[in-house]
Amino acid sequence: MSEETKAQLQHIKDGNDEAASFAERISSVRSGSIQLRDRPYIQRQPDTQFQHDEAEYPGVVFEVACSQNTRDLRRAACTYIQYSNANIKAAAVGFELGYGTKKEARVSMWKPRYLKDDEEGLDTLDVEAVIDRDVRLEHV
């Protein structure tokens, strides 16, 4: 996924427009740690992350979860998105890998969602799954 994302970013960079100049400044940071909070100390280490050189946080992170369930993926997405105050905003993409001959794998992608239900007029930051579905692979 990292390679495919990089390839598509490279394609955008090859242009000569605003998108190209923006994409030119996005780098793949691989699996470096992201410190999300000082107290309590919270950090995560996604498998791949893409960061603009002017941004404090990577905008897009990918995390492969080999044995996690959907709830864990949602927790991870919440951590990334809420603790970064939605600076990480194209969410954690989780793969829950299956095992055995009949494999079941899950792909999910989460993005921030703002709810305007606060009496003080503050938006509540939530996450929503834009994709959360099984991809079944069956060896024949």
Partner: protein, 151 residues
Amino acid sequence: MYVLNTSNEVGLTSAGFPIIRWICHQYHQGIASSLDCFADSEVATFDSEELPGITISYPQLAEFLDKAERLQHTKQPVLGEESIGKKSRRPTKKRKRPPTPIGEISSDKEMEFRDAENAVEGRTVVEDSDFRGQTRGTMDEPVKKMNFRKK
């Protein structure tokens, strides 16, 4: 290179891998991220709807998943199956490691470090105003330690 078989034909790819059937309950474009997802709104100040983005289709995702699962299977086979992963079998003996030098940390320092560790261990979660009304346990925050000591 593996082949995505949409016509339910069976066989082997040119590399000898079995052709897999790809089944998805509902066809979808896949994962799409607009360009402004890569930075916060302070940096990405443009209207991304008119700009190209990143799209990874479900067939591509299925391929990536298949590769990841094969790699996982090689590294950690299912219980009862033999590992097919190759590793160095070169006979060696390990050089003895030198022992950790004694007395490099003074007792005062050691006490200081121990106190610091104890302070971290005993740290309780400070109520966080950003998460008002949040049910405990929904985030990756440490669980507050309870003191059950009788008064």
